[in-house]
């Protein structure tokens, strides 16, 4: 029982990332009809917003320490971050320590801008082209973006730790009557889950309870009719692309303490997120969220030793097996709508 609870908890934070990326993907598909293979790259760019802010906060002046030497035996050049010089050592270190949460403030405008430029500069030219063309051009764009990031930041993962306040784990098992150390869960993963849930709730509320959201939903259902009413639906859809990019970016920012980011992290999530979208139902936001959490939890279960000893290698194919089973029984996915990609 404790092992099952443990894997459910593990699956929730992994599922949170899948759900956030898949939600953006399906939002873009539902509004613009574009299959965006560059969406994983947006997740990666978000993560590198956190890396960039961390590097900016660590910009330094050099002070020579004559008492110490460097690896060549020369007087040691000590790097003193400007924030420590300006705000004092304690405050400066605290600001640096909180660079990941602070990066959210940087990531929102950056990702909105990246999304806007991507849509206006490239993707809008492919609206009327076949999906194969869209996949090719967005996949190419993803490769270009990740190579640019690699050129600037290198190929190795870059440690981007959570604030000290959230390091370590809490004993969830003790809360529900299990023995000590039976079910432990890192604080930051819990924060990631809560953060993701909040973002998902905000996107749903935005679409459900605002006039803008209502127009977008109407446009998703019948673009032509909304256009005939004199509403510039294209402009709203462009903004939705920017919002989807921002959601992916925020997912990336907050993911950096879980796994140190590298240039390839977007691709690692992309394929799985597409499976999540298909399982959830193309164009269905609740479907994407449900499938994201479902597949995240299932993936965790498949990694259990007991399961792997019965079915070796199951952890690598479980998501695809479930996708096949669901698509065979429900061809439109868990919550897919009739007519989407069926013309």
């Amino acid at each position: 029982m404790d092992a099952i609870l443990l894997q459910i908890l593990n699956g929730l934070d992994k599922g949170s990332a899948y759900a956030l990326i898949a939600m953006g993907l399906t939002l873009i598909f539902g509004t613009l009809g574009v299959v965006n293979f560059a969406h994983g790259a947006l997740f990666m760019i978000g993560a590198f917003c956190a890396v960039t802010l961390q590097k900016m906060l660590n910009l330094y002046s050099v002070v020579i320490d004559p008492e110490k030497t460097d690896f060549l035996g020369n007087p040691l050049k000590v790097k003193v971050p400007y924030v420590e010089s300006w705000f004092g050592e304690a405050t400066g270190q605290m600001i640096i320590n909180w660079s990941v949460p602070l990066a959210i403030l940087l990531a929102i405008p950056v990702m909105l801008a990246v999304g806007y430029i991507m849509e206006r500069g490239l993707i809008k030219h492919f609206y009327k082209r076949p999906h194969a063309d869209q996949i090719l051009v967005t996949f190419g764009l993803a490769i270009v973006l990740q190579e640019i990031v690699k050129a600037f930041f290198g190929a190795n993962p870059i440690p981007t730790p959570a604030p000290d306040l959230f390091k370590g784990s809490f004993d969830f098992g003790l809360l529900i009557g299990f023995a000590e150390n039976t079910i432990i869960y890192p604080y930051w993963r819990l924060i990631y889950f809560v953060f993701s849930t909040a973002i998902i709730a905000m996107v749903f509320s935005f679409l459900q309870f605002t006039t803008f959201g209502m127009v977008v939903r109407a446009g998703m259902a019948d673009r032509e009719t909304v256009g005939l009413l004199g509403i510039n639906i294209d402009r709203r859809f462009t903004l939705m692309f920017g919002i989807a990019a921002a959601v992916a970016g925020l997912a990336g920012v907050m993911y950096t303490p879980i796994n140190p980011p590298n240039y390839h992290m977007g691709m690692d999530f992309l394929v799985l997120s597409f499976v999540v979208v298909v399982v959830g139902g193309m164009g269905s936001l609740p479907g994407a969220v449900l499938a994201g959490f479902l597949l995240g939890v299932l993936e965790s279960f498949a990694s259990m030793n007991e399961v792997k000893s019965l079915l070796p290698g199951i952890d690598q194919i479980i998501i695809y097996l479930v996708a096949i089973a669901i698509l065979l029984t429900r061809p439109r996915g868990l919550m897919g709508r009739a007519g989407v990609m069926e013309e």
Binding site: L72, K150, P161, I184, R189, M304
Partner: protein
């Protein structure tokens, strides 16, 4: 006047005899090694540096390439000579190799066996490389070593730690300077026993491929010999990025040590997960829970940030060593590039010098001559103390470093500290050791 030569046939016969006579001295001088692939004919010789320039180990590949370029500079008489000044063999004169200027071509292994073989093949067939060297993966090393054996050129392996490279997959044309999984186990186990005691229960997470399996086998055998129990060994797919589902059950398994048989990105991510789950803050079986990373790389340790502090592992070489060879290399490399070299840079620099030295001593570039010169070659001054290229398996035997993540680093390069220099005798094994059995060197292939 008598006719000396009467017919056209006699003219040809005489020419053949005279020609053979004139060529006799040269022929005898290199008779054992005549005719081989990519024999350098002009004033230069081309070496092929096959390193990961893209993909997950691109940073290590870049450091290898820097070291190769430094080696080429030194071999051609440029720079301060680096470890050529401390190398016990004095065959290298700074005038290239055998008087031919050293030139090089590069290939990108992408850390993929097929891509690495393709780039090595291209360098051999199109660029005329007489030796291939480099790489940052055992899968790549085994694949390229096999290709070089078939093609008839020498392969000087880069960073490869699997027992198989000089075990079941050993080849006559291939040589490894880097240490291996068995040596890591033999060096680490006594230190771990000293630090953590002999009553320990270890849980292994192992990368699910050739290198991971051999390292896990080696570490488990070495620690079990010291009294440890191996509670579980879970293989993890190489493509895993989030290790939480593998790390979470560890505390509940009764283990009090987690051994991470991971390298590169896998190591960074699994270690980060283990630290996030607070394993190092826990007390299990009345002891502090510990984590061990048997193979350390400074470049990778930097990626794991503060998580490596206090964690034990092993490494082939470290820039903080104080012997004359290491100091000379660190000075050359540091002054040229502005930061200290990694162990990957060190091992490939040594391999380039060792190959060049073997050619000089053999008096030929012929692979069979080079093999003969390297087999059983004993040397010193290249940063690892007295070293030998064992003839039976083409593995270098030398001291191994046990290191630990530094608690108070003074710079971004000062990530590891040396805990112990394990003497060669302690990490040596018989050529027919079961962990290395199942392969044979075969005979050298000159390729022509």
């Amino acid at each position: 006047m008598s006719k000396i030569i009467k017919t056209r046939r006699e003219v040809l016969k005489t020419a053949a005899v005279v020609g053979a006579g004139l060529s006799m001295p040269t022929f005898f001088a290199s008779s054992a090694f005549a005719g081989y692939r990519n024999e350098p004919m002009g004033g230069s010789v081309t070496l092929g540096f096959n390193v990961p320039q893209t993909g997950p180990y691109a940073d290590e590949g870049a450091d290898e390439l820097r070291a190769y370029m430094l080696a080429v500079e030194h071999l051609n008489g440029g720079g301060d000579g680096g470890m050529m000044n401390t190398f016990s063999s004095k065959a290298l004169k700074g005038n290239g190799i055998l008087g031919k200027k050293v030139e090089y071509v590069t290939g990108d292994t992408q850390t993929k066996s097929d891509a690495a073989r393709a780039s090595a093949k291209s360098m051999i067939e199109k660029d005329g490389a007489v030796m291939i060297t480099g790489g940052s993966s055992s899968g790549v090393a085994v694949a390229v070593q096999g290709l070089c054996q078939e093609a008839g050129v020498i392969f000087m392996a880069g960073l490869t730690h699997s027992n198989d490279t000089t075990g079941k997959d050993r080849k006559a044309n291939g040589f490894r300077h880097f240490f291996n999984g068995y040596m890591s186990g033999a060096a680490l186990a006594p230190v771990l026993e000293k630090m953590y005691g002999s009553d320990r229960r270890a849980y292994h997470l192992t990368a699910d491929y050739n290198w991971g399996w051999t390292q896990q086998e080696s570490i488990a055998a070495a620690t079990e010999a010291k009294g440890w129990e191996t509670v579980n060994n879970v293989t993890t797919p190489l493509t895993t990025t989030d290790f939480s589902s593998y790390v979470a059950p560890v505390l509940n398994s009764g283990a009090d040590v987690l051994v991470l048989n991971h390298y590169g990105g896998n190591m960074i991510n699994s270690l980060t997960s283990a630290v996030q789950f607070g394993l190092r803050d826990k007390v299990v079986n009345g002891k502090n829970f510990e984590i061990v990373v048997p193979l350390y790389s400074r470049l990778m340790a930097r990626g794991a940030g503060e998580n490596v502090k206090g964690i034990f592992g092993s490494t082939n070489w470290h820039w903080s060593l104080s012997d004359a060879g290491s100091k000379a290399f660190v000075k050359s490399f540091g002054e040229k590039y502005g930061f200290p070299p990694s162990q990957a840079a060190h091992t490939v620099y040594c391999q380039a010098l060792l190959y060049a030295d073997a050619c000089e001593r053999a008096g030929t570039f012929n692979p069979c001559g080079v093999v003969e010169a390297l087999e059983g070659f004993k040397f010193d001054g290249l940063g690892n103390g007295p070293t030998e290229y064992r003839a039976e398996d083409h593995q270098c035997f030398k001291d191994v470093l046990v290191v630990k993540g530094k608690e108070n680093p003074s710079s971004e390069f000062d990530v590891l500290e040396i805990v112990e220099v394990t003497p060669r005798a302690q990490v040596e094994y018989a050529p027919d050791h079961p962990m290395f059995s199942g392969g044979a060197l075969g005979t050298c292939n000159p390729g022509a």
